[in-house]
Symmetry: D2
Subunit: 445 residues, 4 copies
């Protein structure tokens, strides 16, 4: 899961991109990069680390120009090197180009094989490099047409921002799996970002979302951006954006994330009621749903787990039970509140089950008499292939165990999940969602 | 405001001190240090930065031994150098000694003048150095008696941990202004820390608080620690520990901080009710009190401000309205929730008024129809001289303006503070508190 | 000017490459990189900085395997980014490949244009990327044949090391402009390096030089390396390797660099004698020639200029006469020796004239009565296009001024250069040299 | 062995101190520090590392003011911590004070014991701290008189620079063991430094040396500095400054170091002639003496060992024969020159014998037929207690072995040292030298 941002026709474009990436940093903490164009040349800086670690005033000054695109990547297995940071910048027949990508191409191996067969070289393992090759190899005369040709080759979930020396293209796949919003800067110019919270931070006014299947083109001298509907829209907005990834203050397709999460909690209270003294969230991800659960059930809400936000790069001796310690360093239960009480604890999801197991243990050790876990999402039974880094079937606990078996494993007194139906109702029945992790309906063919 | 920790008679003492300091890091982010003794020599490492920035596996290995003391300092004006980091370690007539200190000595200038008159040199601006000089200059034969002599010279609020090569002393002033708790490690040995959350993280069992006016002595070969009541206790526990500094999961003098904060919110609801659609906290410091306010008033609780925890060392261009941006980078309101609504926003205190003013502005810009600010503490009208880094009278807004004038300045629709009486009731009327910031009663003479 | 190294069939290949690069570090100080293969995968680490700055034990351990290639780059204008560091590693149809290159391709723009026309993308500005593209696009079935095809497209001066997962290729252009030597490791396996001083450091035995126009192939299971003479040899060994770049202890085509430099000094003494009290070198580059001049002329040799080797990254305020200070920080004359004396000062070359001018000034200020500058190379009148980073005609002082005018500019009492004929005799008349900088004979067509 | 510098009454004093320390960096590479006064306050920055590593433009700007003192320390055993870096700055009765010290106090333990007995605390292991304590404890009214009182307590070899907020004191012990020179800055103001090479770099004009037993006082408003002869001079200039420590371009007591070293080589040629093909130096320390040996003997001089100046912090695997590798990384013999030849190799001293042994081995492996080692100093048979970090008797090879036994150990074909008499003649018989390392005459009582 990544954050991408594009900024067009503004002063100090790379600084605005920096702040926008900063707002979306919860989406990615491993690597970050920005490329900027001053009309003559595209310059790029990217490295491992947080936004604030990779950039400083001097580096942003180097990236001068009035347009920029940026990327912030979440840790993904096997890509421990800076060579897999984005943007991917290159020069090709028409000049400099730079691309950032959020999503996942399902036919990347076929595309790569074909390209390699034709003599292409790959300097990273990112599927983003596929796209740049397809654009470079197109016989079309204009970049726009080359991009369109490339988009007809790739399949998958993608939000793309492509920058030439003078134009910027924003593209969303026909399913609209990943969100992408357009904002207008106060002093003129545009910003396009994965999340509306980025627009808010830089004081941009929300214009509209890029539509599923749409390509938006920003060019100098034109006040308005151009829109081309490339593909028939078939919206499947990723439900996980609402469940976990997006920031509560963001708005996706007109729906506020915090409000949606609260409704998930409310539905959960209806579907899986329990008698308890308190409702508590696993902070920070379970807070909104827990508030909803509390409001719907009438059970008091308490913040009985304190989160330590300084964890960062704490070294931990590998000889100890490391995973245990990691949760302990991050989450501390309030003994005095929990002692002898029956607790409903709300979290956003269960993936492998190990974290939930430790949380139940922490709460019981802190004196909780009963721990009832309620998950504000359905059981994750399938890997997402559309941009979320879920593990394989083997590691997904709900792909291998019944709810009762999971409950036993995590040692909770009871356990319940939201139904898929209730999830959809919570976000809004007026839209279609990508629910692959829950129902295994891999709709991208 | 600092965090101190001492660890005695355990394996890898410096590692345990590291984890304990990590748990208490909200108390200090500027500089940190640990000194450890292996019975022969005291070694010290200290530097500017977070606990996780200053230490790594290698440095903690260098600090080997079975006892250690550590310190984590909050940013204080004018002390931008590593020379003001603690512990202060020195060698003197009886050998190596190391000290950490949380608090403030009110007669430090007199003591320093006298020492300087006698030929002492000071290599820092910390009052901790006073204490080490007094100990070194004492004519007493034993360290214990030297410390006692020194303690009869200094006046103020202090929690001290003093380490020789083989003993550790924990001392709390007779007023008990700053907290200090003793825990027992599972595999033997002791930990003494500013906050019980440190004990929890390292799995230590709470034994008891160090008593006001008490000196506790840990020495090898004695299973039990020795206790000497040096001064008549006259308890004045700092109310600000409950209001702001301590972590919600900590317990001070038997009182849980989270519970106390919730009660402050409840009292506030009674004293300063208002009709509103939502109660929202300023995260993270106002969360507990806001929950109390919501529960007592029956007004729904919402987390309508999102906090960005990555802020850290974000560089901010000084040409902009910097203070504004700082608050914006940290706090993001959820527009969809706030639009057109009447809001009660709960914060823990108002010092200069600038932050509150920006928060009201953020909320109004996000669409809030009315913003009623409620502060879960009384008006701060006096500088604390007992260890909290409050500004001078000139900068304290409530020392210079009436509540109505403050309301006008921060542009809230209404504003109310907790009464001193209600504050005391919230924490518990069975104890005496240090309330100097509120009532100007400077009880240490 | 770069250093390259390849190591084949040895334990800890990347460590040996590291030490070899370290020995050749005078050739490059700006960026360094190593890629290693363990038979399954090629891993690469490269960054700006000295060999010792880029690598540590941990990084070399990451680069495990029994073969490695490495590169160390000299500062070149405009390439201030890590993206122009080598090796260039990529995956293509036949798997992983990595290349390092020392030299310069004269038809790189044509080749790049053609490749770009065919849809290739370039992620750096290095001509090395051309070669990898040509290999990837070849229709040949085997890597060896693809490389050969590529070599028939490129023109210029090059030494290449190419690594697949299991083989290593060492290639030298038909002119043999840049040196490349093969050594045998004591415990088996091979090393190929730009300079024999690298072989000495890692205790490898010199086997022979790679021949002009030859491709040498190292593969597992074959004790002996394979040799293919790809092009008719037409040797033009770069004279500048002898004059300046190579280390005095290195041996190129059987000729020791130190001995050659001494002979240049001797010839210079014959051609341009002068009455003087002392011969002094500009350290370190002029030392060998100065010794030769002294021995031939009978004038005493003195080390009257002290070189400060710590200069490195000294920051220098840009407001001052920076170039002046830079020379001053590096070179300090010994006043007591120089006062009132007639001095012959020997340097290896004059490029822009600015450094020579400052050296004369330093010596005069230190009291020298007369400063006679003797340059152990002919006048540089043409840019080298074969791998040495010489400036354009406009900046080359000898392309624009007569020797007398240069003398005037540098304010020396007399000035003389070596003749081209004498240079050739000094190194040895049995070989043909690349002398483009001196005679403008651009022999590569 | 350290470098100290003081700068008085100049603009950007800390920058000038920085450049002066940079010039003297061969004297110390482990830690460096500067303190500066702007008339109101003394600020200090010090850390482990080279001059260029510890300071940058920003840090020097922080150290603003018109006077500064600085220190650069050589690696000494057991002091691996920043707490032993100088200057030592403190505040005492009369205000701020800062001290740097080059030398060694022989009664430091007695002084420290007495101070500690009186209640002093020590925050480092440096004897410099003794001096600051003595000054602080003096009953004298003025700093000058306090310093004088302190100087009557301490015994040993010392050059001191002491800075108050408005004055600077330069002091040299009555033996003048360590050098200290005064220079006048071109635009007014003074510099005092351990070596005249520092004066040259910052364009200061040499005024004179501080005299043995003299205190020089610089104060604002007085064009001329004040001089007080505190002690009867009894000059014993350290011979090792001429042999090894000082830079060849420096001048000590009117004697140029390079010229002295050449004479040592000449004397050595007279005393210990040998038939040989070449004279070669161990670079860089043996170069000057080797030139002298060559000139006196008529044997040709060759630079047959190349020194790699990039060594720095090369990590070296501890499993290998580390010491061997260290010499190899630094020194590379030129095989072609050495093969089959009889060599005289000149070095400046033999301490433990291990390095000499490796050099002989390197030369023999490179093909030298005979290796005759000549040392341009007498045998080191006693530890220097006056500021040079020589090892104990046990480790000094010449304290335990005859010259013949040393020769056997280092495996040279012959070995000879300079006589003490010849050493004195080489530097000049008009002065008295500290020769303790050679004759064990510990003249400071």
């Amino acid at each position: 899961m990544c954050a991408i941002v594009g900024v067009f026709d503004v002063k100090h474009a790379s600084k605005i991109a920096y702040y926008a990436l900063f707002a979306m940093q919860h989406r990615g903490q491993e690597a970050t990069g920005i490329s900027a164009s001053d009309g003559k040349k595209i310059r790029t800086i990217k490295d491992n680390g947080l936004v604030t670690e990779v950039f400083n005033e001097e580096k942003l000054s180097f990236l001068h120009g009035d347009m920029a695109i940026g990327h912030n990547r979440y840790s993904t297995a096997g890509s421990d090197s800076v060579r897999d940071a984005q943007p991917v910048a290159a020069s090709y027949k028409l000049g400099d180009i730079s691309i950032v990508h959020n999503g996942n191409l399902i036919n990347k191996h076929e595309v790569r094989s074909k390209l390699v067969e034709q003599g292409a070289i790959f300097q990273s393992s990112m599927d983003t490099e596929n796209i740049i090759h397809l654009i470079a190899r197109s016989q079309q005369g204009k970049l726009k047409d080359r991009i369109i040709e490339a988009l007809h080759v790739i399949k998958g979930a993608y939000c793309l921002l492509i920058q030439s020396r003078s134009k910027m293209f924003a593209i969303r796949d026909r399913y609209g799996v990943r969100p992408l919003s357009i904002g207008k800067m106060k002093e003129g110019g545009y910003i396009v970002a994965s999340e509306t919270c980025a627009l808010d931070l830089v004081d941009a006014e929300f214009v509209r979302d890029v539509r599923p299947g749409e390509m938006v083109i920003f060019q100098h001298g034109k006040e308005e951006f151009e829109s081309i509907q490339l593909f028939e829209p078939d919206p499947h907005i990723c439900a996980f954006e609402f469940i976990y990834f997006a920031r509560p203050d963001s708005v996706i397709e007109g729906k506020n994330v915090y409000a949606a999460r609260k409704k998930m909690g409310m539905k959960l209270a209806e579907l899986a009621p329990v008698e308890a003294d308190f409702v508590i969230p696993v902070p920070d991800s379970g807070v909104s749903a827990a508030l909803g659960y509390a409001q719907a059930s009438g059970i008091p809400f308490e913040m009985a787990i304190v989160r330590n936000h300084y964890v960062g790069r704490t070294f931990i001796e590998p000889t100890q039970a490391v995973r245990d310690l990691k949760v302990k360093l991050k989450l501390s239960p309030i003994h005095k509140i929990l002692e002898g009480k029956k607790i409903v604890v709300i979290d956003d999801s269960i993936v492998r089950g190990t974290t939930s197991r430790q949380i139940v243990k922490l709460l019981k050790r802190a004196g909780a008499a009963e721990v009832h876990m309620r998950i504000a999402a359905p059981t994750i039974e399938h890997p997402c292939l559309y941009g979320i880094d879920t593990p394989s079937y083997k590691e997904l606990i709900s792909a291998n165990k019944t709810v009762e078996e999971v409950r036993e494993y995590i040692e909770a007194d009871s356990l319940a999940f939201l139904s898929i139906e209730a999830l959809k109702e919570s976000i809004g029945n007026d839209m279609n969602y990508s629910l692959v992790s829950f129902d295994g309906n891999y709709f991208i063919k």
